[in-house]
């Protein structure tokens, strides 16, 4: 393995980004998933479609619109500027914002599936025991949907690690700020440094395989226990 200081910096930055995004997505995604799992509203379809959009859109489209929207003349840019935060492109928090949108379906959908699989029964039983809605959510839904949370965390984290197109569009390739592993691999390949590209790529490949292995292993385990259908 031949990893330079720049490579290690990119790895550290990527892990920092993926961790931040995963935590924020669990906080933001849980109420969205809960609402999607329970609602009868006509808005369910449109909201579910918006959440799922990044699955379909090419990352370049998403990145292009984010670059414009987060720029000084875009609506997000005007908002962040009026809040005194400056503009988001070329910053770590700009990447966090973009990644939250980009990885949203990978967190919301497993959560929603797990919550829908619970059904009405456990909640009704809890209600007869005088548990309030908030009490029910924390004592019934969260523990029973745990496999969903595990899947959502792993997928959200892994998908952010693998992000490339969006970051390329809004990152600006700044060391220790926006130059993540996938961009670093791209730079190595483009500048014909194939040996360094191999080291980093192999690392990503092994990492992705292990992550998916853990994911399927944990799903099989929970399936055996019979929590998830």
């Amino acid at each position: 393995m031949m990893l330079s200081a720049a490579d290690l910096g990119a790895i550290w930055l990527t892990l920092k980004l993926a961790t931040t995004v995963t935590i924020l997505l669990l906080i933001i995604g849980t109420p969205i998933a809960w609402w999607l799992a329970r609602t009868q509203s006509w808005l369910k379809g449109p909201i579910a479609a918006i959440v799922a959009l990044p699955l379909v859109l090419p990352p370049t489209v998403l990145g292009f619109y984010l670059l414009i929207a987060m720029g000084p003349n875009g609506f997000i840019g005007e908002l962040t500027q009026s809040l005194g935060l400056g503009t988001l492109p070329f910053t770590f928090w700009g990447l966090v914002f973009a990644s939250i949108i980009y990885s949203m379906p990978f967190v919301v959908q497993p959560l929603q599936n797990a919550m829908e699989a619970l059904g009405e029964r456990p909640l009704e039983v809890a209600a007869t025991l005088r548990a309030g809605p908030i009490d029910r959510f924390f004592t019934i839904v969260l523990p029973l949907a745990k496999p969903g949370f595990i899947t959502a965390s792993i997928l959200g984290f892994a998908h952010t690690i693998g992000e490339f197109g969006v970051i390329l569009m809004i990152g600006g390739n700044i060391p220790d700020e926006t130059r993540v592993v996938s961009v670093q691999v791209y730079d190595h390949v483009e500048s014909l440094e194939y040996a360094q590209a191999h080291s980093l790529s192999a690392l990503l490949l092994i990492f992705s395989f292990v992550v998916l292995l853990v994911l399927y292993w944990s799903q099989r385990k929970t399936a055996n226990v019979g929590v998830m259908k």
Partner: protein, 262 residues
């Protein structure tokens, strides 16, 4: 009956493929040259029976594809290093040649900065400075040289944002996210304001092209009449004028300027 259908199909296929193979050349072109190349092809196809099919992309990607047998007959790179590397590996039919010299411009899309590009740069009065990544793009190397020659590396370094190529460096400025950017003159030729960087501030950006030799998947470039005809056209006065009109210095012009070339 089945046999007849099959035969008919085969004959049709052969009839379709023979003329196209003889008359169409596939070329790979560095993205910064896209505009000029489209016009070159357009003009060429008007006066010739041959056809040119162009793929545009980053030189690094094209290089990797050619090494792995991509069916291109001519490679128009954004630099000299990649065609030369292919030449050294025996993957070309001839030596590379320079088809255009790139020029650099300092540009802003911000009304307050426009007309004051250089003063703003020297006063360090801007939010971000965008240019192509010097590791990947010759225009990026040139931009760095300009900053070096202006003694601005230290002062501006914290405000650098780098695009993976010159198109992205342009995009960062065009979308208003960076106040200033070093872009290719060819990209801003039609804009009202930019600072055309004096060529003494950076070493020439030579863009080389090379005729490729046959690989497992390609017909030999050397024996390809369409490829040769197109190369001849690129060398012509008419092409050189087109190339210049897109903000490059063509070989002809440089010959006159310096009195010598090689």
């Amino acid at each position: 009956m089945k046999l007849m259908t099959y035969l008919c199909l085969m004959i049709t296929l052969v009839l379709i493929t023979i003329p196209t193979q003889a008359d169409t050349t596939h070329i790979a072109v560095a993205s910064n040259f896209t505009g000029a190349m489209k016009e070159l092809i357009h003009v060429f196809e008007k006066s010739s029976s041959h056809k040119v099919k162009a793929s545009y992309g980053s030189s690094g990607k094209i290089y990797a594809q050619i090494k792995h047998g991509a069916p291109f007959q001519i490679f128009f790179s954004a630099d000299q290093a990649k065609p030369f590397a292919l030449y050294q590996q025996g993957l070309t039919a001839e030596k590379p040649f320079t088809y255009a010299f790139g020029a650099l411009a300092l540009w802003s899309s911000h009304p307050d900065v426009q007309h004051n590009e250089l003063t703003r740069l020297q006063a360090n009065d801007f939010n971000k400075l965008s240019f192509a990544n010097p590791k990947l793009a010759p225009y990026g190397i040139a931009a760095r040289e300009v900053l070096e020659n202006l003694n601005l590396i230290q002062a501006t370094q914290k405000k650098w944002v780098q695009g993976e190529n010159i198109a992205q460096a342009y995009q960062f400025v065009g979308s208003g996210n960076a106040d200033l950017g070093f872009v290719a003159l060819s990209q801003v030729k039609n804009k009202t304001t930019y600072w055309s960087v004096p060529s003494k501030l950076y070493s020439p950006i030579r863009q080389d092209a090379v005729l490729l030799s046959s690989g497992p998947n390609m017909s030999s470039g050397k024996n390809d009449t369409a490829a040769n005809a197109f190369l001849q056209f690129v060398h012509s006065e008419q092409s050189q004028a087109i190339i210049e009109s897109y903000g490059y210095t063509a070989k002809r012009k440089l010959l006159e300027d310096t009195g010598a070339i090689q």
